[in-house]
């Protein structure tokens, strides 16, 4: 099996030759290859080259066109500060506290900010791997982008003090995600990952997710599928047990579960949805954690051996500055072999 076949089989709960191995390696690919993160985030060709090199080294089953959570906000007008070895921060948000998102339209993926670089990266990666490996596009989810429009603290207060205005921010964010996602699919992505860290119950209670986010995520997933997505992956980190069961109604193919949720609970909450997780991402900073990571990965593989529908991954991004030995331990546990994903 190749990487794409392996992931599609896991999504369909069919047998695989080994567990699909999809570590969440984004900026790590740049740092490991000796590049500045700021350059990686601005240059689609460099992003593609680093992702392909990382996959060749580790034998993982997917490459990611993920840059950072601020890329859509920047395309909408936010000002960012960039760094050599960490992700950018929003220093001036899109909207002032009193402003309304209803005056904004989704940015054009072909011309706004760094969005075209992502489309370029997707095209290059797809041309390189063809159907042999999963090319995963990435979009920022509605809650995360809506909170970035104002800054998180301001946005959360608006969500309570002026709910209708926050709904308009969510609607703009959903439309932006669909537009950017559809463009990545047109550029060649097989899969679309919806990263929505602010949708976590650690930020807002599960009722908030159910009433305000679930309907928009369902619309987004349906729209991405209509735009050609073979796989839609909802990636929310943190203590997601109160919302995981809702993912089935949203219609996602793959659901991330973080270290807060154990494998048995995740299986109980989403019995027919492929699960990806759940290693603790900060463990990868510690070279001495490699044996522990390997043991935990093996235990996870065992926990899903009967059920299937599992992708070995971390519960959140593996940090850019992670230790290579710790990342390799994960690949070793999956039985992945370097250089096995060329077309």
């Amino acid at each position: 099996m190749n990487g794409l076949e392996r992931i599609l089989a896991a999504v369909r709960f069919q047998p695989t030759d080994r567990v699909p191995f999809v570590p969440q390696l984004f900026g790590y690919a740049a740092i490991a290859a000796g590049f500045r993160l700021a350059d990686y985030l601005h240059d689609g060709q460099l992003l593609a080259e680093c992702q392909l090199r990382s996959r060749e080294t580790l034998g993982s089953d997917a490459v990611f066109a993920f840059t950072d959570f601020s890329i859509e906000a920047e395309a909408l007008g936010a000002r960012l500060e960039y760094y050599d070895a960490q992700y950018p921060d929003i220093v001036v948000p899109v909207l002032q506290p009193q402003e309304d998102a209803g005056r904004l339209a989704p940015p054009d993926p072909a011309s706004a900010g760094r969005l075209p670089q992502v489309l370029h990266a997707v095209g290059l990666m797809r041309a390189a791997v063809g159907e042999s490996c999963c090319v995963a596009g990435a979009i920022t989810g509605p809650m995360t982008l809506a909170t970035q429009l104002y800054g998180t603290e301001t946005a959360l207060f608006i969500a309570v003090d002026d709910p209708e205005r926050f709904e308009r921010a969510l609607d703009l964010a959903t439309a932006t995600a669909l537009s950017f996602g559809a463009a990545q699919l047109a550029a060649g992505a097989h899969a679309m990952v919806v990263f929505d860290p602010a949708a976590s119950p650690a930020v807002a209670p599960a009722d908030f997710f159910r009433t305000r986010l679930q309907p928009r995520l369902a619309r987004l997933v349906a729209g991405l599928r209509a735009a050609g997505a073979q796989i839609v992956w909802l990636n929310v980190a943190g203590p997601t047990a109160p919302i995981l069961s809702l993912y089935a109604e949203i219609g996602v193919d793959i659901a991330t579960f973080d270290y807060y949720v154990d494998a048995a609970a995740a299986q109980r909450l989403l019995p027919r949805t492929c699960l990806a997780g759940n290693l603790k991402s900060l463990d990868f900073l510690l070279p001495e954690a490699a044996p522990r990571i390997g043991a935990q990965a093996s235990a996870l593989i065992q926990a899903f051996s009967t059920r299937g529908g599992f992708i070995l991954s971390s519960g959140c991004e593996i940090p850019p500055e992670s230790a290579a030995a710790a990342v390799s331990a994960l690949a070793h546990a999956a039985g992945a072999k370097a250089g096995t994903c060329r077309s």
Binding site: A85, Q86, Y87, D89, T152, E153, L156, F157, A159, V160, P201, A202, V203, A204, P205, F208, G238, P239, A241, P242, Y259, Y260, K280, S281, L282, D283, L285, L286, P319, P320, E321
Partner: protein, 226 residues
């Protein structure tokens, strides 16, 4: 959040119940109204802190398990607490009226200060004096503030992994100023994934309340030993 609504208290006892309900509902307008009514009844600020704010924070602490802790609800309560504290102490809580002083910051390289702000509010609500150095704070500035303010502990919050090396420098910076007795507490989405030994800190808090409990226990143990 339910709008508790300002209802005139017939007595301070009733007023405290209404204040606590307003705080827990995250209704800052009602909390402010109840505070003003209590003051009008002659209740001193210190009593409003101990019998109002601290009781409300205690109940919130009981509710906020790791599974139920969420920023939005805590922020709303925090806003209500801040409004009340500002009403009672427009120029800030002075050291002699507080229980102990803590210095709090988000360290250099991390500009995400929402979690730090939550911790500050929880500690204020429990009657502590908190010196907030803001975000992107150099480690040496944190240590200098701990010395200047005679802090019992410094608290550092981190959302992103790249701040870890800065956290590991805090202990040495304190030691260089002879502040070995100052406790170091870490928290935040990134830092709480690591053990105290990985960060060279005394405690890694799972939530803001967990951190506050650690500090209260630390002070209680010292008082018992004194």
């Amino acid at each position: 959040m339910v709008n508790a609504g300002p209802v005139p208290p017939a007595s301070p006892a009733n007023g405290f119940s209404l204040l606590i309900a307003a705080l827990l509902a995250g209704d800052h307008a009602a909390a402010l109204a109840e505070t003003r009514q209590l003051r009008a009844l002659g209740v001193p600020p210190e009593q409003i802190v101990t019998a109002g704010l601290e009781v409300a924070m205690g109940r919130l602490d009981e509710k906020c398990t790791v599974e139920q802790f969420n920023l939005l609800e805590i922020m709303l309560v925090g806003r209500a607490v801040s409004v009340v504290v500002h009403e009672l102490y427009p120029e800030g809580i002075q050291p002699e009226k507080g229980r102990a002083t803590f210095v709090i910051a988000t360290l250099e390289g991390d500009v995400h200060d929402l979690g730090k702000n939550i911790v500050r509010t929880v500690l204020l609500g429990k009657g502590f004096r908190v010196v907030d150095l803001g975000r992107d704070c150099p480690v040496d500035a944190l240590a200098a503030a701990a010395e200047r303010e005679q802090a019992r502990a410094v608290l550092v919050s981190g959302l992103i992994s790249t701040v870890v090396p800065q956290v590991r420098r805090v202990r040495a910076a304190l030691r260089a100023r002879g502040l070995d007795h100052v406790a170091v507490v870490a928290g935040g989405a990134a830092l709480k994934q690591l053990a105290p030994a990985d960060l060279d800190v005394d405690y890694v808090a799972e939530t803001a309340f967990d951190g506050a409990r650690y500090l209260e226990n630390l002070l209680a143990a010292e008082e018992a030993a004194a």
